[in-house]
Amino acid sequence: MKGFILSLRSEYYKSRKTGGFWSPIILPIILCALIGYNFYVEAARWKEMPSMLLWMRFSGIILGIMGTLLLPILIVFISYSINSVEHKADTWKSIFSLPIPKASIYLAKIVYAILLILLCLLLFCIFTIGLGNLMSHFKPELRFTDYSFSSYLISVYFKLFLSSMGILSIQFLLSLLFRDFLKPMGIGFAATITGVIAVTQQWSWNYLFPYSHPLLAMQSLAGPHKPNILGIMILPEVQIFTREVWVSLIIAAVVFTAGFVIVQKRSVK
């Protein structure tokens, strides 16, 4: 456990000046700021919209961009960045000759990658809620504050997070095995595009393909919004553990374990 914590701290220390660490922070800032600004400027278009739909509209734009393309690409980049630090510096030989179990080093890298994805999605969630409330403050006709949307949005982002674990595991393994940039990035890009096509064309097996999972997770949220007994529109409950989320988690468990076995057995050349 001590080796794991030391390795995790070291991962942060090594990456804190790299794009791998800053991209999951900068991406939500830029994307939310751009979309928020546009929403604010065009406030007149949304002033008649009910509060819940306003939230759905605003968060949907961000989620749509994230879920379809940006999240898989971000995962590809973060996985590459965490392992390329060692490939570039040729430091696998030195970290594996330290008195720290190989399993702790491997696990720390995976957990650090997961934490960065989690941080990114958490920031998206915080910025979406924050910007909605901020817009209401400056333009009261945007009635974001009339509806509490945070628990729903947190559930949605949590589902998106879980659905991305399959991609993360595969990209992490590819980046661990290949030291060059092109293989993991190229495979990641091609698979992401295939995933989008598989979902948009409604291929029957798409739930088995991890690169389709974030988009499928987003699609599963687009259910009808029904009024309650008082006639008020309510959001459907988020079904987090849907088929694609389970498949994503199973793939992650299998691939992360395979990576662990490879690290244990593989020689450092």
Binding site: L6, S7, R9, S10, Y13, K14, K17, T18, V85, K88, A89, D90, T91, K93, S94, I95, F96, S97, L98, P99, I100, P101, K265, S267, V268, K269
Partner: protein, 299 residues
């Protein structure tokens, strides 16, 4: 023995890179592991650090089996393998802090190491901007950071200027003599190893050709004296009549067996006294290639 291997063998695909190696590194030794490029030195070091899986044979370090005591053994080893493994986007100090963090070494040790390898002035410069020699020195500082009992250094003087080479040599001697460390250092330069090693192992094509103390090596390596004189044949006859063993003579040079430096002075005096002009009198140490030849021919 600090390091002991028994019939250590390693194959890359179908090629045997290390063949039945039986290394014996005593405590408190500077063990020079000599061999030309591609002889199997780095592979052996990687096996000793468990970076490569043992295929045949066994390794014990500090009297314990490496495989079953990996973490305990690695905690007492500092290593530098091939070119230094350094994060280029971090400064020299940050590289050391990162390693200190992993090894749970106090931060003040970082500054001590920077001082030791003369990198204090460049501590806050990105390591990617370091010269090869500076990187090598940082690599040595990283290896020494945890104050290990055993240092394994793979060609540590690569890329260093003559001053740097002398400094590293003096540092290693000091670590052994004053701090009781054991140093296992690989090199392809016989002369370099002879200047600091107490014990030597010579490897070629994966096989250990020689292992023993530096005195035993000196006995085998038999340096020669090369003399350039006006009349080499006449001078050679003079030396023979004075019971010096002349190995060879040509138009310009005489070659004799080296015994000690006093003899060299006597030879010079004898030649000059008998009217010969001595242009040069040089002790010629066999280079590694010649030495390999002599070992294999003797074997």
């Amino acid at each position: 023995m600090v390091i002991s291997t028994q019939n250590l063998t390693f194959n890359f695909d179908k090629q045997t890179v290390v063949k039945s190696l039986n290394l014996q590194v005593p405590e408190g030794a500077i063990y020079g592991f000599l061999g030309p490029n591609g002889a199997g030195k780095t592979t052996t070091i990687k096996l000793l650090l468990n970076l490569l899986a043992i295929q045949e044979g066994s390794i014990s370090v500090f009297g314990k089996d490496l495989l079953s005591n990996r973490i305990e053994i690695l905690a007492q080893i500092g290593s530098l393998i091939e070119q230094p493994a350094i994060y280029a986007h971090m400064t020299g100090r940050e590289n050391l802090i990162n390693r200190a963090m992993l090894l749970q070494v106090r931060r003040s040790k970082v500054d001590e190491m920077l001082e030791l390898v003369h990198l204090t002035g460049a501590a806050n410069k990105k390591a990617g901007q370091y010269s090869l020699g500076m990187k090598q020195r940082l690599g040595i500082a990283l290896a020494l950071l945890s104050d290990p009992k055993l240092l394994m250094l793979d060609e540590p003087t690569n890329g260093l200027d003559p001053n740097g080479i002398i400094e590293i040599r003096e540092l290693l001697v000091k670590l052994v003599q004053e701090h009781g460390k054991t140093v296992f250092v690989s090199s392809h330069l016989l002369a370099e190893v002879q200047k600091m090693a107490t014990h030597v192992g010579i490897i070629n094509k994966g096989e250990l050709l020689f292992q023993g103390s530096i005195k035993e090596l000196d006995t085998i390596s038999k340096p020669t004296i090369q003399i350039e004189v006006t009349d080499s044949v006449d001078a050679a006859n003079l030396l023979k009549t004075n019971k010096y063993m002349v190995n060879d003579v040509d138009d310009h040079f005489i070659y004799l067996q080296y015994t000690n430096k006093e003899d060299m002075g006597d030879i010079n005096a004898l030649l000059v006294k008998n009217g010969h002009t001595v242009f040069s009198l040089v002790k010629h140490q066999k280079d590694l290639e010649e030495f390999f030849l002599s070992i294999t021919q003797n074997a």
